[in-house]
């Protein structure tokens, strides 16, 4: 039997990045696409609990079902798994995101939200992002990698509560593939003040991302800056293990 993948993204069901991913993976697997009905960039792992969700089928072909959902990327994974329970996915895929989800951006990324939800539900999961946020970004340099990485992730037997965050540099050609740790970066000058034509202030979230460790050559940020594809293995158990003992004396003196 052919493999079966569930796909979603955060740029919405009609985004070119998702369309490119569908065409790249279709020869290799049956696909169920459950994607937001519009942009959900920066939605992280957010879920929708205060209002109901809906979805509609927008495309149905041999081995391919595409649905548009009113919810977040994470909602989409939950909807796909719960409403199409007859077949367990061999892989859950987020992307291809229009924009960089390396380093701490992973915390805000709806594309990573897809992979995180997939892994939380116990399935091999991977997120793809291209460091080009433009709507007309050129995804063609990614073609040799997408199905290859997807099939490898399916077979790699990742440990529970882990997934992969794959970022492609904005470069005509890639120098290779690197397994990386997450760079420690920090967003700065993030709020831009404007005045409404009729008066009153409003604010845009913007900012610049500063690499706090620019010399370190083992980070995803470094790899991307040097035209390497960056794979950041990601864990969902976020316990800061070394702090468990250290903080015990500080916080448990009342016992």
């Amino acid at each position: 039997m052919r493999p079966y993948f569930i796909l979603s993204n955060d740029d919405g069901v009609s985004a070119p990045g998702l369309q490119f991913l569908i065409e790249a993976l279709r020869p290799h697997a049956d696909l169920l696409v459950m994607a937001p009905d519009g942009p959900r960039s920066g939605f992280g792992c957010s879920i929708t609990s205060s209002r109901p969700l809906t979805y509609r089928r927008v495309r149905e072909e041999e081995g391919l079902t595409v649905c548009a959902c009113s919810g977040t990327p994470t909602d989409c994974v939950k909807m796909a798994l719960n409403l199409f329970p007859d077949r367990k996915p061999d892989l859950i895929v987020g992307g291809i995101n229009h924009g960089d989800n390396s380093s701490v951006n992973a915390h805000y990324s709806g594309t990573m939200g897809v992979a995180i939800e997939g892994a939380l539900q116990g399935y091999p999961s991977i997120a793809f992002s291209l460091c080009d946020h433009r709507a007309d970004a050129d995804f063609s340099p990614l073609l040799p990698y997408l199905a290859d990485f997807a099939l490898k992730t399916m077979k790699a037997k990742l440990p529970p509560f882990t997934c992969l965050n794959v970022n492609f540099p904005l470069a005509p050609e890639f120098r290779g593939v690197r397994l990386c740790r997450m760079a420690h970066t920090r967003w700065q000058r993030e709020v831009e003040r404007r005045t409404h034509p009729w008066g009153g202030e409003y604010f845009w979230l913007v900012g610049e991302s500063v690499n706090l460790e620019p010399e370190a050559d083992d980070t995803d940020r470094w790899a991307l800056a040097h035209d390497f594809v960056a794979i950041t293995p990601t864990q969902l158990d976020v316990t800061a293990t070394e702090l468990l003992t250290q903080l015990k004396d500080v916080f448990t003196d009342r016992q």
Copy 2:
């Protein structure tokens, strides 16, 4: 000089949990509260980039400024830090959340979104949650802990890219305080189908959280089930370090 704390939450600026936290911390620090203008439960680390943000001051007293913001919990922290840059906070506090943010719930939690953003920006950060989602939850058993934990966190010199996730059990009295690791849990049966009065289906995100390791007595879920306060030290560098080497052979064969 008195300490200076920035507070936010995900239940909104008028939520009783936030009001309780303000009163508990006021005697100990000057407070800037920048909280969402309505409920943002389950918003995780999401940010708002596609529409502008606004805020308004809703309360101004000696040592206390309260603002209501149109954005997410994470937006609120960014707005507070960028619009009130004259004073660096000694601590960033999320909560008190109406509901359980232990185990994998931390990934979906806007309350944890506050603490994560605080730590990403380099400040000591802590999130408080009570395992009672009701609007009229009784926060009084938490009173002896809130300022104590806040001041200890301020002084504890947490390593960069870490924060604390504190969950209080729903119990009239607490048996003590435990430093815990995140329990591995899984949400199941998460989508409930309904029919609109005029026809057409819609879906509510619901579900039940199953503990995958119920016997383990070192997890936050175990602590809460046994009436202990659970402190889960949390890291923001989510690199799955042990996978870096293991996956290198799998993914880099094209180099």
